[in-house]
Symmetry: C3
Subunit: 395 residues, 3 copies
């Protein structure tokens, strides 16, 4: 697997070796991998953190198994839910218990088949919350890959998504690019001021020329957020003069995002006036990620129905298609190194530090570089407070 | 060339090292590569056992040459049969004798061209029988690659195809997958009971739940056949109960295959009531094979014409398209290892042993594993008799 | 990058090591990369000699920069000419001076951004002549890659293209194949007599059976030309008799090319009666080249307009599409080695020697083969005079 995000002439390799090594993400997390409504009767294949997984819905519950039959290596996602609570391989009718992954019945070898109970498919903890399917990718180092009991799934879900009145709409799709390109693009302060300056979504929104910000914890403590200290709407630059040109018609200065925050393993939260956008950057393989784009409001009954309609008619294409395609086009083309960071990249540096110091499991570099001093594990707040120092390294 | 069929956690590597190494098949065999009627005036390119070959028809006879002009590496299949008995390269008019591969004339260098006779293209023995074109792929170790005289082509053709009243119809096409996946799928007993349970072809055929069988020689001695000892049409299984559900309308129990056999280098024979199906799994490159699907009956005159019409109207799509696509979909997705064999895989194990012990030429592993005892070469019958022991290794 | 044109059983590796190593061409030359009229407001990406370059037109002048922003590795060809004399990266508004490549303004970091002046993008000398854009690819060994001052662009342009009355029409497109396959096909004498024997373009032109020629300097001294000594229109060959068959209707013997010459870095000139064809084989990556096909006449006013119309209506498809597709089909399929040269390949051998001895910069083999005697650098005329010796090596 080619990984263009390799260490080199950049701070990633030397300062954040765990992050640099996390080509396939960090382990011991619950990852959202699919909209619940996209999983119907037919098994579905997904690749998460490099693991091939088949998702099956059985009498309302969702199960996740390794997507390969140990008999002859055929994907179980070609198979069928032939019996309740079981998944049957399409090739020879090997039938596995969805809960345990144990081979229970081999239809084509009779009731006394001696191989029953002697073949197993790895299972993954899976939960359904907020209209999303979550799979727990445990540490492969610990025995069956799930040695440590997973934390409750709620620990890895933004709390406002868990409210009973949450109305969640969106899409999850596989896209080109390593998950870290997508995550760094998500928390990146600078590009919003230039890349997203044009397009239908911002037609009536005025975009500042530049801002000063620092990274800090969100008020609920879960997120590493960009805290804007200063906004400059237009400025005069050497050689090029005033920029940007004044708006030709009314553009609101109030409709920008109120707060943007990121958290492990791969969530971005963008608080807007009256609604919140969530983005997901789930590691798939080295050069693909699962891109989740969600719009969330909180309402009941008719009001909830109207919100869903508004999503279908407006957000879905103006925001989730047009606006995010501007990002995706860049994410596909980014290649690091080279990398030469500048002041607004403090948001990226703080995110890299957060991952490097606080990510639960995941790959540890074989030999940390000699020039890296031992670090004390620190809480997010401490990490965030330290971010400006990291940012000072860039210019 | 990636070969997903690699040795590893499977019996292939340790027990059958010649078979495991035969990524590109076994040498010193006649391989059927094309329907005779598909070769018209234009040269055609095929890849067999990793060799690039151009086939040319000249005044009724077929010739096979290495598909690359030694001058500048251009494929000769781009060229033309410019003169009787000759093939001319499209680029500079280098003209080769079809029989010998000798460079006879170089049109663009005049009649006295000194290079004539100093360049040669390798030729391959080629024969036409039963509507098929056969190419002999000799041992590359022996000098010009054809050091040993090939056996008569009839030695490598099922005898019923050679009968003068044989009516052979079918298709040969290049498909994804190593030839061994396809061959093992062909002789595999178990998958017929599950993978092929649905579809137009079996609409009026009842499929048993499972069978007991052993491998044995065919009555004519040429084939390693599956001998069915016991057929169970429906059974009760632990946890899932009765299976399969009883037929909803009349399904015949008599219309199944009467006998299925395999033989080197890559033939499968499926005797049905009144007709016989042959399948071919010709090695092409590491990840492709030439898939031959033939339907054979024996008739003269009007009866033969009716059989050909029946093939076009019914077998061609119900059997050779719909039914075999179920297999092809699996063959493309198989990846070994992992591999964990079960009782019905005795058919696969016996085939692997047959190849390993009796294949004529072909790759020999550099160093056989230490744990493999020396074996006496044995006839097919002996090998077959030993198969149950091999099968006992699986569960 | 796979390069099928590798050294081996051919004279390229042992006799012409600099040429064999020039997978990506020779450095220190002006390469034509695009028709001037194809570069409008939007930046365009090209790959020349393995270098990714963005071309930008600003107030009439053309600029060339390395096509990657040092910030995060995004191609600058995604960006815009946001301000006069500047190119702005699409991602964060990093704005570079087109002339110097210096980072002048970072829109999203304010007027006092401390990174200004600390990031640079490599620039390439670029000129516009005869309706073509030329980029100078300097030696990467010398510091910034442009250590030595480039020669005047006119030194690398055929002089008749520089005449004020030159009417140049044509196309430049990226094609499959290494540039050396294309260049050797261009100067190759032999294939014209066979590959191009059929087609609309030669319908009324008689093609000789074969010719004798030697390589010599053109009358203006700039080109290595094929000098035809003897033309045989039809001949009798052993085994195949008279060839070619006599024309079935009137075909002119006068309308063939008058003189074909080649020169470094990648130009071919084909003088025809009343007009001249130029071909370009610009190295792109190991397996692609920029194919330039130009038709040139010399005229003013209405006569020039008529020439342009004639190109659009006739040459463009009969010559630049149909005729050249015969070549491209071969160039894509060639693979050397094998290689076994014959008499007419003296043209190829002389071209290889010319490159090997006289190409300005470019890759030098790490260790020249021991059997290769030291050579005195020699002028083109000397090299050409020596060509028959080289040709004598082939048969």
């Amino acid at each position: 697997m080619e990984d263009r995000y390799s260490a080199g002439r950049t701070d990633v390799g030397s300062n954040f070796p765990r992050y640099a090594a996390a080509v396939l993400g960090f382990r011991n997390y619950w990852y959202p991998v699919m909209l619940a409504r996209d999983l119907g009767r037919a098994p579905k294949a997904v690749t998460v953190c490099g693991e091939q997984i088949v998702l099956v819905r059985d009498r309302g519950r969702v199960y996740a198994l390794h997507d390969r039959c140990p008999h002859r290596g055929v994907p179980l996602s070609c198979g069928r839910r032939e019996f309740p609570g079981m998944l049957t391989c399409a090739y020879h009718g090997w039938t596995y218990d969805l809960q345990t992954g144990r081979l229970e019945v081999v239809l084509t070898d009779g009731p006394d088949s001696p191989i029953c109970g002697k073949a197993n498919v790895r299972t993954y903890p899976v939960e359904e919350r907020a209209g999303l399917i979550f799979v727990y990718i445990g540490d492969p180092a610990s025995g069956d890959g799930n040695g440590t009991a997973p934390p409750p799934v709620e620990a890895d879900i933004p709390r406002e998504l868990l409210r009973p009145d949450a109305v969640v709409e969106g899409i999850i799709s596989r896209q080109r690019g390593n998950w870290r390109y997508a995550a760094e693009n998500g928390i990146d302060e600078g590009h919003v001021r230039y890349l997203h300056r044009r397009g239908l979504w911002v037609l009536f929104r005025e975009i500042p020329a530049w801002t000063r910000m620092h990274m800090g914890p969100s008020d609920d403590g879960d997120w590493l957020t960009r805290v804007v200290d200063d906004v400059v709407w237009q400025d005069r630059y050497p050689r090029v003069g005033a920029w940007p040109p004044p708006p030709r018609f009314y553009q609101s200065r109030r409709r920008g995002a109120l707060e943007v925050g990121i958290r492990l393993p791969c969530w971005l939260r963008i608080r807007q006036a009256g609604w919140t956008s969530f983005e997901l950057y789930v590691p798939s393989d080295a050069n693909h990620y699962l891109s989740g784009l969600l719009v969330t409001t909180w309402a009941w009954g008719l009001s909830a129905t109207l919100q869903r309609a508004k999503y279908r008619l407006w957000y879905r294409w103006a925001y989730h298609a047009l606006f995010h395609n501007q990002d995706q086009r860049i994410i596909e083309r980014m290649a690091i190194p080279p990398e030469q960071l500048y002041r607004p990249d403090a948001s990226i540096t703080a995110w890299r530090r957060l991952c490097d110091e606080q990510a639960r499991g995941g790959p540890l570099p074989a030999a940390p570089p000699a020039d890296r001093p031992a670090r004390e594990p620190a809480g997010m707040a401490a990490s965030v407070a330290a971010a400006p120092r990291g940012a000072a390294r860039s210019e």
